[in-house]
């Protein structure tokens, strides 16, 4: 099957699964299962956002939790000011996108670890600012004044996860995607063939941040209240990174597999070993890095390719 065909097939399967997941509230499925599906989609979408910049360009971000947090705050402030829901969500995406320009326009001009350090610094800086900002409710946080039906953020998160997955798959095999990956593999050579690497990295980071902001916006409607220490916890940025790392960095399916695995494990370990789930995720990342450097999806693809190569002569003979 051609790559365009594979992308189309992945998009069709994603749309079908997304439609089934989005219909669950009306199919009599328990709220426990719906919550699990919601969180799987939440981490999937956030993982795809991280994947877009870090998986595709190799520039590692530790700010995706903070970007989602900015989206969440912007949306709650907008909705409390009686903005329509669509405008509130757009405000969240735009706020995170603009915030990404602050980091990207400066640190993405440089190569190496400057961007990673800038995102780490940004994560802490945003928490400090939000704690002091009266408009953001200070340390006490903000509460969404209107209560929305839980099916609204649920359906929106499922749709966002599906759209983000299809977008990453489509980008991966497009000309732009190939040029972004060229930056990851060798930025000097990429520049030598006419790629404006700074501009492309900033644009991709901005798109990635907008998705992260939208994830935060929808989640704000889901939870209804924002506390800065929770919203801007480093843990969220770490999970945004862990999900694609476990599933497969730079692939559309990586964050899907990673998110399902993470949410499943979290449920199990919250019962078996409460409070240890992040430690276990850390051990899992270590195992993946040691034994499956390109994640579960990458390792499975390689095993499949090896099997096909060895099967061909056998069939021929």
């Amino acid at each position: 099957m051609s790559r365009a065909g594979s992308t189309a097939a992945l998009a069709a399967v994603t749309v079908a699964l997304g439609a089934v997941a989005a219909a669950l509230p009306w199919l009599g499925v328990s709220s426990y299962v719906r919550t699990l599906v919601y969180y799987a989609c939440y981490y999937m979408a956030l993982g795809q956002a991280w994947n877009l910049i870090s998986g595709m360009t190799g520039y590692v971000s530790f700010a995706h939790g903070a970007l989602a947090g900015i989206g969440a705050y912007a949306t709650v402030i907008a909705l409390n000011a009686q903005w329509p829901v669509a405008a509130g969500l757009a405000a969240g995406a735009a706020a995170a996108g603009l915030a990404s320009l602050v980091i990207g326009a400066t640190s993405l001009r440089l190569r190496g670890a400057a961007f990673t350090f800038a995102t780490l610094f940004f994560q802490e800086l945003v928490l400090l600012i939000v704690r002091k900002l009266p408009a953001a409710g200070g340390p006490g946080g903000l509460v969404l004044q209107e209560i929305y039906p839980t099916s609204l953020p649920y359906v929106l998160m499922v749709v966002l996860a599906a759209v983000a997955t299809i977008a990453v798959a489509a980008l991966r095999f497009s000309r732009t995607g190939v040029r972004v990956l060229a930056i990851k593999h060798d930025e000097t050579a990429a520049v030598a063939i006419g790629i404006d690497s700074t501009r492309l990295k900033v644009a991709i980071f901005c798109a990635s941040a907008a998705i992260a902001g939208l994830v935060g916006s929808i989640h704000a409607i889901f939870v209804g209240s924002l506390f800065p220490d929770v919203v801007f916890a480093v843990e969220i940025s770490l999970i945004a990174l862990a999900v694609p790392l476990i599933g497969g960095v730079g692939t559309a399916m990586g964050p899907v597999v990673g998110a399902l695995l993470y949410v499943g494990m979290r449920e199990v370990f919250q019962v078996v070993a409460p409070g240890l789930h992040l430690t276990i995720v850390g051990l899992l990342i270590l195992a993946v890095v040691l034994f499956m450097r390109d994640g579960i999806v990458g390792a499975a693809a390689r095993a499949w390719a090896t099997r096909r190569r060895t099967a061909v002569p056998a069939e021929g003979g």
């Binding site: 000309r175 190939v178 040029r179 990956l181 060229a182 990851k184 593999h185 060798d186 000097t188 050579a189 990429a190 520049v191 030598a192 063939i193 006419g194 790629i195 404006d196 690497s197």
Partner: protein, 237 residues
């Protein structure tokens, strides 16, 4: 008008003069060989034309336009393609994707994008189109890098040590390919292996200690006492 006109070029690296007061003209359609022993300044001069290094003094013009301060990516878009001494393929991408990455956007160019399949056939890699670049041998990677530079549809192709690390057979293949390509494009080739590379050049420039010591046809270069001295020592001249 010369395709490339570099005037009074000087480059210092922390006080060390790598290139001093060099004038280099490249005529449209020619294959210019840039030769010299280690530390001669030829690679620095090459990188100054490619935009990877900015000169301390002097100016570089391409088609009459001053490109001294133009960044490398923009020079590539203007029509300057290059290869690297140590190959720099996009190892995780397929051979075809390596070429796809270099094709200019339709908006950036008036002409049709290069025929990538024909380019791969030209360098003998058509059967490896869907293999990752990481799976290729050094000789194949060198050819892939030339094809990638050609995918830009450049007016000037800069070849940095295209024969380095290749076997005799691979050198012969590469030189044959360069000889084919030169019919439609201007080439500047930096090469250590003067004996192999000089015969296919229209003109050659020899540098030593940051300055040009000789220039002329291959025949003139072979007989030039300054060149013989630079390569073989004082006694040989």
């Amino acid at each position: 008008m010369a395709l490339v006109e570099a005037r009074a070029i000087e480059k210092r690296f922390s006080g060390v003069v790598a290139v001093k007061d060099v004038d280099l003209l490249v005529a449209e359609g020619e294959l210019l060989g840039l030769f010299g022993p280690n530390g001669a300044g030829k690679t620095t001069m090459f990188n100054i034309i490619a935009g990877a290094v900015r000169p301390t003094a002097g100016a570089v013009r391409f088609r009459g336009v001053d490109i001294t301060a133009v960044p490398a990516f923009r020079r590539a878009r203007m029509g300057i393609g290059r290869t690297f001494q140590v190959v720099r393929p996009f190892r995780g991408l397929t051979v075809m994707e390596n070429l796809m990455a270099a094709v200019p956007s339709a908006a950036a160019r008036d002409g049709r994008p290069a025929d990538l399949a024909a380019l791969l056939r030209g360098v003998g890699l058509e059967k490896r189109a869907n293999d990752p670049a990481a799976a290729l041998t050094l000789g194949m990677l060198k050819r892939l890098e030339v094809a990638r530079a050609l995918a830009l549809s450049p007016q000037l192709l800069l070849l940095d040590e295209p024969l380095a690390g290749l076997s005799d057979r691979e050198c012969a293949d590469m030189l044959q390919f360069v000889a084919t390509v030169r019919r439609s494009i201007t080439i500047v080739m930096v090469e250590h292996n003067v004996h192999l590379a000089l015969p296919i050049c229209d003109r050659a420039v020899v540098m030593d200690a940051g300055s040009i010591i000789a220039e002329g046809t291959p025949g003139e270069i072979r007989k030039n006492p300054a060149v013989i001295r630079a390569y073989l020592g004082e006694d040989a001249a």
